[in-house]
Each structure stands twice: as C-alpha cells, then as structure tokens.
C-alpha cells in the first residue's frame, strides 16, 4: 500500500481540520491531473452542491505563459474537501475564486499548494466562506516561491463570515519564499455581518433574512467576479444561501 492510500489523521497538516470519518467514506482520493501547455489557456469549475461527502484533489501544471481560471463552489456537502496543487512556470497565471457555504455540522475545506517555479508568474486566490449553525470552514493555503522564481506576484484574499457564534472558521495562509523581488499580498479576516449595514437595509423594508442574503450575495460574488460562469455560479450560491438563512 502506498502512502497516498493510507487514510490521513488530523496530525497531517493538510488534514488538521478535516472530518476524518467522512473522509474515510470517500477515500482514497483520485488526483485529477491537468496540464496546460505553454501559452495555452484553461478553465475549470468545481461545483459541489450535493449533500453527500465529497473530496477532490486537482493537480495543475502550467507551462510557460499558460493561464488557468479555477472556480470552486462547495455548498451542500456534509463534508467537502477541495485540494488544489498548482505549479506555475515562467509568466504563467493562475486564478482561484472559491466560495464555501455551510450550515449544521457540515465541514468544508479548501486546501491549496501554489508553487511558483518560474520567473514572473502570477497567482491570485480569493476565498469566501459563509458559515451558519455549528459548521466548520477551513482554508489552508501554502504558497511556495522556488529559488529563481524572481518577479513572482502571489495574492491571497481570504475572508470568512460567521452567521452564528457556534460556527468555526480556520484560515491559514503560509508563505515560503526563496526568490527575490516577490510580491505576496495576503489578507485574512473572519467576521460577522455589519450590524449597521443590516439595520440600514431593514429600515427600508427588507426582512432580516433578505438583508443578510443581500449582503452575503455581495460577499460571495467577489469569488466569482470575472469568471466565465459567473452568473450560474452566483445563482447556485444564492440557492444555498437562501436555504441556510
């Protein structure tokens, strides 16, 4: 049995917040390999809106000057894990926009490993998580900039919104930089809906769930801005939002 086939435990860094019992039901995870040739473009939408446990692992290799647009919506599974490894060659460009919506005792996670292996590659990750009930939402995002990958620009914007105090958000961006002239902006915030904004909206006649839904729609939309399937992704997210609120 290879190492990959052994069910991980929570001692594994990449699985420290996982629902191991649920993971067992979908183990082992088959890695989906994607290669984008030099100067080619690719895109993928991962939409998981079923109720069953799901775990996916996508490994993407971007050749020189290649571009890839990945969008993720996890909204429904009792356990949902989306792991993404990306290796960027020179001048490659990677975009990830991910939204996770959970309620009840659901556990959702996005785990990324973005490796800048060539000069002047750019990556941008936007992760938006909405958590109700006693759900758990996690983002683990490692960015590695290898020796010689000078001129790297790697962005991470990670925000989670807790609708109830009983929900838990974990966010851990990590950076390993072995190159020069690297830009690595990252923002990370866990918060609640702005009470002043909610009152403003309700003072015009919106019900509390409507006001929350409107603000959360805007929050999630940031993950889908500019996506080829922006509209359908937003609609699918909205359907789940309405169920959660």
């Amino acid at each position: 049995m290879t190492l990959e086939l052994t069910l991980p435990t929570r001692k594994d860094e990449d699985f420290r917040y996982s629902d191991i019992e649920a993971l067992r039901s979908v183990w082992p995870i088959v890695t989906e390999e994607i290669e984008v040739a030099a100067d080619a473009e690719g895109a993928l939408e991962i939409v998981e809106t079923g109720a069953g446990a799901v775990a996916r692992h996508v490994a993407i290799t971007l050749g020189k000057g290649a571009k890839f647009d990945l969008r993720v919506l996890t909204a429904g599974p009792a356990y949902g894990r989306i792991a993404v490894d990306v290796k960027l060659g020179e001048d490659a460009d990677f975009t990830l926009g991910a939204a996770q919506l959970a309620t009840g005792s659901e556990t959702l996670e996005v785990v990324t490993q973005v490796t800048h292996a060539g000069l002047n590659a750019t990556s941008a990750q936007i992760i938006r998580t909405v958590l109700a009930g006693a759900s758990v939402g996690t983002y683990l995002g490692r960015i590695a900039v290898e020796r010689g990958a000078d001129g790297t620009d790697a962005e991470q914007s990670v925000r989670a919104m807790l609708l109830e105090r009983t929900a838990t958000a974990n966010a851990r961006p990590e950076l390993e930089i072995y190159a020069d002239d690297v830009k690595a902006a990252h923002g990370c915030a866990v918060g609640e809906l702005d009470a002043q904004g909610l009152f403003y909206l309700m003072s015009r006649g919106l019900t509390p769930p409507q006001a929350k839904r409107l603000m959360l729609q805007a929050f999630i939309a940031e993950a889908f801005t500019g996506a080829p399937g922006e509209e359908t992704l937003s609609e699918a997210a909205l359907a789940r939002l309405e169920a959660i609120l």
Partner: protein, 251 residues
C-alpha cells in the same frame, strides 16, 4: 399619525431620552432642533428600531399601532422612513437591487403585487429625476464612494421610491451644497407635503426650513422637548441661541 408619550430610551445603558412627548398629525411638518448630543438622532433610531437603542419607558403609537411591537422592516412596511444622518455604505449591493427588493418587500407585507423590473426602473428614474440625481448613480453600490451631499440626495431618492407615510429626516440638510439644499427641500415638499403624510425634520439650521416650512418647531435638550412653537421659533433660535430661549422657558 405618531403619538410619542413620555418616551425613555437608553443607549449602552446610558439614559438619553428622558420623557419625551410629541404628537404629529397627518398633513403636518415638524422640525426638531437642539444642541449636539441632545438625543435627536437617538429619537430617530429608537423610532426606527435600531439594535442597541433600548426603550425603557413610555410609548409610541403609529397610526394606531404600537411602534415598539414591530421589527424595523415592519415599521418600514407600516410607512415609516428614516433618513439617516450618516447613510451607511454597503459594498457590492447596488441601489437598484436593494431598493427594488425593499419596495417589493414592503408591498408584499401590505398585500400588494410586486413591481416588475420595468415598473421599478420607471419609478426610480422618475424619483431620481425629481432629485436631479443621475440614474447611473443608482446602479452603483449603496452609498459607496458617494460624497456627503450625494448620500443625502440618495436618501431622498429612496424616500421618493418607498413613498412613506411618515419621514423622520435626520440632518438631511447637512453636507448639501446651496443648490442641492433647494433641490432636496423641493423634493421633500413634492414627496411628503400631502394631507395624508407627515414629516419630522431634525436640523440645526433655518436654511432647510426656508424651503420646507414647518408647522411646528420643537427644541430637544437633554432628552426632552423643552419648548415648542411655530415656524418663527426656528428664526428666534438662530438669532438668540438655544441657551437664551431654553432658559426663558425654565424661568
């Protein structure tokens, strides 16, 4: 239309309104003036139902209904509109979407049919025009990047679209330039000066009252109405200041 009786309210456990009484009838325009920190905005927020503003005594009856029994959105549906002293910015939510949903939420709770997209846009265009506001501004996120005066003008456009019975306008005049003040004043008259509507203007200056002539002027100080009069009271306050006018009452 609105009857406030001996209202007491606290903010963060601090008593702010200390026995305020005021009656506003349909067809009337009232102005409230008073020193900074007197509790004017607190009155508006308390009537609007803002969380954190706790009613500790007294009552407010709005068209026969106990106002404090209603949630903020129910007060709006009942016909109450609060024009904010500091309108809130809501990133990512467009005015058009927000106002259409708001208008339809109110209509739904009154048992009226919702406005279609086209009907709403026509209404919004008409009210934006009334306030001389570029319709494109309503496609932008709510108040985000609006100047102080633009936010106030947008409040009046919202009032026009929502067509309330009673508008409480908290310092709508502050931040407006000279022309905008006139446009907003005329807008308030056009939208609200009707026999079945009423307005409570909270203001520091006479200038708005030049355009929107009040039937009654009240002075709010230390959480209570300490003096009431006609439109001339505002002129006297401007000339003599609160202290002189209020002291004369106490004497």
């Amino acid at each position: 239309m609105l009857e406030i009786n001996n209202l007491q309210a606290t903010v963060a456990d601090k008593p702010i309104l200390k026995g305020l009484s005021l009656t506003i009838n349909a067809g009337e325009i009232h102005a409230i003036m008073g020193p900074n920190g007197a509790g004017k905005s607190t009155l508006g927020y308390t009537l609007g139902g803002r969380p954190g503003y706790e009613v500790t005594g007294g009552s407010a009856t709005f068209n026969g209904q106990d106002l404090f029994e209603l949630a903020p959105h129910e007060r709006a549906a009942a016909g109450l509109f609060l024009g904010f002293q500091y309108p809130v910015e809501i990133p990512g939510v467009s005015f058009v979407q927000f106002l259409r949903e708001s208008a339809n939420a109110q209509r739904k709770s009154r048992g009226e049919a919702p406005l279609s997209g086209g009907e709403f846009l026509k209404l919004a265009r008409e009210k934006a025009g009334l306030l001389r506001m570029d319709m494109d501004m309503l496609k932008r996120p709510v108040n985000v990047g609006f100047s102080g005066g633009e936010k106030k003008r947008a409040e009046m456009v919202q009032m026009g679209i929502l067509d309330p019975k009673l508008a409480i306008l908290d310092e709508t005049d502050s931040g407006l330039d000279i022309d905008a003040l006139r446009v907003c004043g005329e807008g308030i008259n056009a939208i609200m000066r009707k026999s079945d509507k009423a307005v409570l203007l909270i203001t520091h200056y006479q200038r708005l009252l030049d355009y929107v002539k009040p039937d009654f002027v009240h002075v709010l100080a230390a959480g209570r109405i300490v003096k009431s009069g006609g439109a001339d009271l505002a002129l006297r306050l401007e000339e003599e200041g609160y202290e002189a006018v209020v002291q004369e009452t106490a004497a």
